[in-house]
Symmetry: D2
Subunit: 296 residues, 4 copies
């Protein structure tokens, strides 16, 4: 349980998990509270999603939020849990210099890794439009090298994400890009796809000759544990599901309150006491006894 | 619908709604996205709750978030909607000077009102413990006067909330405090209660001789439109229900993903396209056509 | 004098000053305090410089600070003075969408204008290296149009700055760019130069056939009032001088303290009471009498 | 020299310096740039002053800046230098819980210590008015204990500052408070005075029987190395001198520009190239060669 007054002591290594035999399941969170929910559900790592953090702030997934606004949310997530947080760093916020500075800042505030994708800045969400322009492979490799050369304190994982398949480039280009990114220092390769089936990412995995672990983010297609295991995917990121669940619930609740009041809701929403439990209010009451002081 | 590039043009006046004959229903939001949901559901005003904003940040409702962190969230809510936002200002963040500075800042970023309560700083959530110490009535009246004397640009409503009944003081003390706050300039009186029935707030309303409209926040007790109307309550604030709905949904979704994957979820959560609709991605695509430029 | 609790009431119109016959002198500030100094010295507008704000934050003028970090400083400057603040918006922080969003945010927090330059993002300070790549003229014009189409509340001036001469392009290209930017909606044209004399900007002014007022930023070259007037320059921005003065003073003071203690300094630095005067501490003492309350 | 892309590696231990035989000289800074100047001048530690940080933001030293705004400035200072930063934590921002949370956050962002004073929240600058109310000694001791019990990662020094003498209490009360604070866990005692001579703090030091090192902040009185050494003061903090030097310089420069232009200034202010040197622009140019990439 999170202790509001304890320096972080992450219990698991994101890098070790990525390099281990099994498939690590990583779940999205978009603020301190949803991060707590991911932790309480027993996951081993948190995905700080650009889409869902932006959405919760009320802005679009096109770098409308500044990188320091994203970092502030990441800081809240880190402070609220003991899980390693892997941050969606989009395309790096400009160039090699912004990318390395963002990475260093994320590391300083306690995040355990960044995922960078080979697109332009500002980016547009991968599921908008088609054939979005990719970053030049050399320029993007330079960004990766710059981040790799930062002298982090402790673990900081760099995941390189190729959008080649999303941009309707060939499988070969996707592979070539992934090899270049591995050479530039990536700790893992995330291969993204917007197909309706997993065939595309499976084909990638079967052709992959690199040594880096592979990561997938199934949003438009379905996967199952057997397929993930057989094709050697090291991690699967469920990238937006908590936010989508919360939107559905809030839309229903607001409609119900609007047309009847919240009374009927009480069975389907958590009581206020559950908030107090999740955020450890009893610790504060105990501390009040210890430190509150009685006036002399 | 929110336009990301239009200065605010609030459609309704929070003050006029409070002063009108009917009972205005105000729903809680805790970030830009939930504010959008409140707006789309047809409510006329948003309650920027200290409890739910703090909780979503992953901290406790004991002024663990700084006032500028709260203001940042309020700013996101204001920018994401056209509804007036009434901000839970807790006990004013220190003294008359912090209270007036917080109010002015909230006004500058587009909020339309603040609610201040007669407790100490840092406050503790009203539903924790019992007989929490109240602010001295003169000191708190000074805070209200200071806020009232700020030269705001445009409408800025000041709601005074008395916690006298929550602190188990007498009905007479609650009324006396409310009269003092009205005299200090409050535009409305919020009478809070943690009883299991509405009897306490009804008794208050029936004894109330002031001219200020009355506001209630039913969390532990139930209300119905007829009772609200008959007792002359000008507004009812559903203060934490969207967050509570979202927690339940996220807990269920995370458990389902942990023990099966999200496939079964797809029917109960919104699609990604719903996020794009809510945050008006088509506007960005149209703007890209107009402003994106083709290289010379 | 700034009143901490009064909504802004800018005393002069930046646009009117730019369009008037004389040459408006605008001085750089980089935080709330230096903005106060500019105001007390009698200037009519403040230049919120990217170079000096970045430098005071301890980072480089290469968009190392995020746009929200810059906006936060601008907000402090606006809140501390009654002068219009013209913000150095660099190249717009990405594309037309970031540029219009940054502009709208700056307007909402009370800034009165933005200056955008035809360079890439991230930018590099104009005095580093040579022949830095310029933005494509059509792409940059799209940015200007997007900002122009924002529905601001009240005055918001858009200055277009061409770096063509700094990039060692021809006078004709500089003029062509300026005409394009005027057509795209610029309220004024800033022509930048890094020559050791003013000849280049004078040549530009003499060839200029547009209707937009012209602005210069003499850093490497000298100007005098007669030359500015004769060549029709509407405004001159002294873009970094307060920061440079403060660095010299702080370097000297720190050396003196290191090797002798501050005693000798006392005659050359302001007393603490001057800080109290500048930031209007007496208002707080008076307000304490009025609002501070005496416990009942 | 600071490297923008290297995790912190503080070169000296603030605690060891406080506990060593000599008198450590600590100089004020109020942003990233002034912190660099302190470092370049050869000091061993930086005082992040509440007065000067507030002033540079344009607000008053009465907790008008929120604690997260102060922390943001501290973060910039830490990132810009390799010196340990001791943060002026005022009275702890509310109670034991805010104090320990602020301390933990400061530690996480790289600060190496906090100074807490026995006053109320919001505080008022010590040189305003007289006989300001002190915190109850038991309540303040509770705050100190709470901070002491935080599980920091690495060094984090807690200095307890008594304002008893400033509040015109007796020497005995000042000593009693200091003993209580030492027992509550303070690593050092700061004894503050607003007398015109050092007699008061010398009397305190001569009567002091505790084991904690003593710290002084001479603002109204003078000190010399011999006196400091003989009376066993472990550290002296020059708490506001760089800001005061910068104000004088900026006032003079702005007047000169207003009534003549900056030409005459050029000899007394640093050139722009000095800014580039201080903030290590050459590193960015070198990195551009290494990581900038040439398009494939």
């Amino acid at each position: 349980m999170t202790l509001a007054v304890t320096a972080e002591s992450r219990q698991s290594s994101l890098l070790a998990d990525l390099q281990s035999a099994g498939t690590t399941i990583i779940l999205e969170a978009h603020n301190g509270l949803s991060a707590r929910i991911v932790e309480e559900a027993g996951f081993r790592a948190i995905w700080a999603s650009g889409l869902t953090i932006s959405s919760s702030l009320g802005v679009r997934d096109a770098n409308e939020a500044s990188w320091t606004q994203i970092a502030e949310v990441v800081s809240q997530m880190v402070d609220a849990t003991n899980l390693p947080v892997l941050v969606d760093g989009d395309s790096g916020y400009g160039d090699f210099n912004t990318a390395r500075r963002v990475s260093l800042k994320l590391s300083k505030i306690g995040a355990k890794g960044i995922c960078l994708e080979d697109k332009q800045f500002p980016k547009m969400n991968s599921f908008i439009g088609s054939r979005q322009p990719l970053a030049d492979v050399n320029v993007f490799s330079g960004i990766l090298k710059a981040v790799k050369d930062v002298q982090f304190r402790g673990e900081f994982v760099m995941v390189a994400r190729t959008e080649a398949l999303v941009a309707e480039r060939s499988l070969n280009e996707a592979l070539d890009r992934a090899y270049a990114y591995e050479e530039a220092g990536a700790d893992a390769i995330l291969v993204h796809s917007k197909q309706k089936t997993a065939d595309e990412v499976v084909a990638f995995a079967q052709a992959w000759q690199g040594t880096s672990p592979l990561v997938v983010v199934p949003t438009t297609y379905k996967v199952n544990p057997k397929m993930l295991q057989e094709n050697g995917f090291s991690a699967v990121i469920w990238a937006n599901h908590l936010l989508r669940a919360s939107i559905a619930a809030m839309q229903q609740a607001s409609a119900q309150i609007r047309y009847g009041g919240p009374d009927m809701l009480e069975d389907t929403i958590v009581p206020v006491s559950e908030i107090f439990r999740m955020l450890n209010y009893p610790e504060l009451e105990r501390a009040q006894q210890i430190y509150g002081g009685t006036k002399a």
